[in-house]
Amino acid sequence: MTLFRNARLIDPETRAERIGDLRIEAGEIVETGAGLSEPGEVIDCNGVCLAPGIVDIGVKICEPGERHKESFATGGRAAARGGVTTIVTRPDTHPVIDTPEMLRFQIERAEDDAAVRVLPMAALTKGRAGAEMTEIGFLLDAGAVAFTDCDAVVADTKVLSRALTYAAGLGALVIAHPQEPRLSAGACMTSGQYASQLGLPAVSPLAERMGLERDLALVEATGVRYHADQITTAAALPALRRARAAGLPVTAGTSIHHLTLNLLDVADYRTFFKVKPPLRSEEDRQAIVTALVDGEIDLISSMHTPQDEESKRLPFEEAASGAVALETLLPAALQLVHGEAMTLPELFEKLSLNPARLLGLPQGRLSPGAPADLVLFDPDAPYVLDRWSLASKSKNTPYDLRRMQGKVLGTWVGGRRVHGGAA
């Protein structure tokens, strides 16, 4: 039994924050209130924030295949340090997670090694090759929480249509990367003046809209539960809005990088800023922030993509895409609160409650009966990020040497402390 006393309780479910106490027992939240009695361990929070742990969709842990980039042990530690209590893993490993056997391997490895909860996703098509659907029913029964080919867009619309139809019949959730595959092929920047100046191959922001429009037409036809992994352009928003107005089972996310950085950050060809889709204009970034605040975009994910030094120490065009972000997700997202774009409960709706709802999980709440997955953090604590201090095996963060504001002091998963204090 543990009592968190004198905490600033951030409850996204009621959209409220208040100073109070919270008691956990046997891995669950049992009581919140003021002046609760104190048998058992007492943690005095001194007025810092206590919120539901982050549920992060779209995390890449590089097991199997590239364990030198990230393992369940290091990724789990990074998550704990970032206040992420559930990571939903991507299947874009080597080999791809496209069979129940591979999925079981990941689940067992995660159970043994990861400090936080791990829920695996499986590929939608075999080898993410876009030719044949995976054994969706088997994979569901083996524990897959969603199906995605990640950034390998299924270009053959007939194959996609069949896979979505089959998934719909089983009630499976499909997560897609909206992007017109031919238009975006080979691009590493968003087209415009700046890409022309740098002389880099670029993609129009319209590719995202076109990819999304195609997918949404298929959602309309099949009724599949569909989540767009990253909406990053203003151009894509009207399509999303129309689909939701029509009552389609559609949700959308965006990445922390597209919320907090823009294409000007690519200056000097710094490959740590090379992500997929590429960073967008400031106008797009602001439109995405607004869409997030308005609820048109449901959630924020880290899109944690570890890359080793060798993959990044290359000319911009040839360098690997992606950035690590499990540990920087919360402090970077707090920029939105400090900039008064949203309140803390609203932010945790996007970080914890909405992703939990999407996957049908009981997490993301501070109400009695919810799992005791918690993050204790000081939203104001300032520091300069040193990438070498990160727990991830790979250190490719675009926030290296940035001034950050917001520090995670403790993380609990099912009532067990996994970060901070005497862990």
């Binding site: 054994e135 139809t165 019949g169």
Partner: protein
């Protein structure tokens, strides 16, 4: 009583027609009787199969022979079609030979009906594309009626590859006309669009689909009709949509299992269950097939006479 010139589909039959065929078939069920031998004597029955089918063709051939008809088989893939003759030309040529009964199977939906417009004799559809397979539905109905004692107010689950199945379509129509509750069960990719409008329930979960069913009709996964990608794999298909004893436990205790054959054991149906004569009516379906076809041949040749 049976006023039709051809048997092109169940669609055109009234409930009274269906009962008439089944009642007539009942006389032909069981061991052959020498008295039947003269009923179609002097009649010519031509089986034209534009698509392979050992079982249906044999069933029609035996039916005709038991009634004393002169039965001739034409394997159409091997003949004039290869030489570029159109279906209508083939029909006109045959018509000139004055057959009494034409039994036709064709890979294209609607082809048998087209042919029937060009000939003077009775035409029996032995399966056209994804459209209809009326004698199969009639033999299924006869089997159900014998096993269940009635052909009304039953819950029938038709499971599997509905999209590519003419058997399913004919059965849906027949069972609907006879006021049964029809439930279609299978993956969404194998459900034809708009099938709900046939007055059936559509379910994508076997346990739910089989609940309280009186009859469980399994369909063959028609791999040869699939241009790839309808299901992830056969093992996944069996895992989710295959019929075994555990799944069958969702149906009524006295539910019967049917399959039009040929079966893919371990793909749509568990081998042991298929062979369990207390539950499986599959052998009886084959037997009823001959009886129904005899009845149909007799009814249509009487009209033609």
């Amino acid at each position: 009583m049976f006023e039709h010139r051809h048997l092109l589909g169940i669609e055109a039959l009234s409930p009274a027609d269906i009962v008439a065929v089944l009642d007539r078939s009942e006389r032909y069920a069981g061991a052959p009787d020498p008295d039947w031998r003269t009923r179609l004597s002097g009649r010519t029955q031509i089986n034209m199969f534009f698509e392979n089918s050992t079982r249906t063709q044999a069933s029609f051939e035996i039916a005709g022979q038991r009634l004393g008809a002169n039965v001739m088989n034409m394997a159409m893939q091997a003949s004039s079609i290869k030489k570029g003759e159109t279906l209508i030309d083939t029909a006109l040529t045959l018509n000139a030979m004055h057959p009494d009964l034409l039994v036709v199977r064709h890979p294209n939906s609607g082809a048998v009906a087209l042919l029937s417009q060009k000939v003077n004799c009775a035409v029996i559809n032995a399966g056209d594309g994804r459209h209809e397979h009326p004698t199969q539905a009639l033999l299924d109905a006869l089997t159900i009626r014998r096993r269940k004692g009635r052909l009304q107010r039953l819950t029938v689950a038709i499971c599997g590859d509905i999209a590519h199945s003419r058997v399913a379509r004919s059965n849906i129509i027949l069972l609907g006309k006879m006021e049964n509750r029809v439930r279609l069960v299978g993956p969404k990719t194998l459900m034809p669009a708009g099938i709900e409008r046939f007055g059936v329930e559509v379910v994508h979960d076997m346990a739910e689909g089989l609940r309280d069913a009186d009859v469980v009709m399994m369909l063959r996964l028609q791999r040869e009709r699939m241009d790839g990608g309808f299901i992830p794999s056969e093992r996944e298909y069996f895992h989710r949509f295959g019929l075994d004893a555990a799944r069958l436990a969702n149906a009524k205790d006295d539910a019967i299992v049917m399959h039009p054959g040929p079966m893919n054991r371990g793909v749509e149906i568990d081998g042991e269950l298929a062979d369990d004569l207390t539950r499986s009516a599959i052998q009886e379906q084959v037997e009823m097939g001959v009886a129904v076809r005899m009845a149909v041949l007799e009814l249509l040749s009487r009209r033609a006479a």
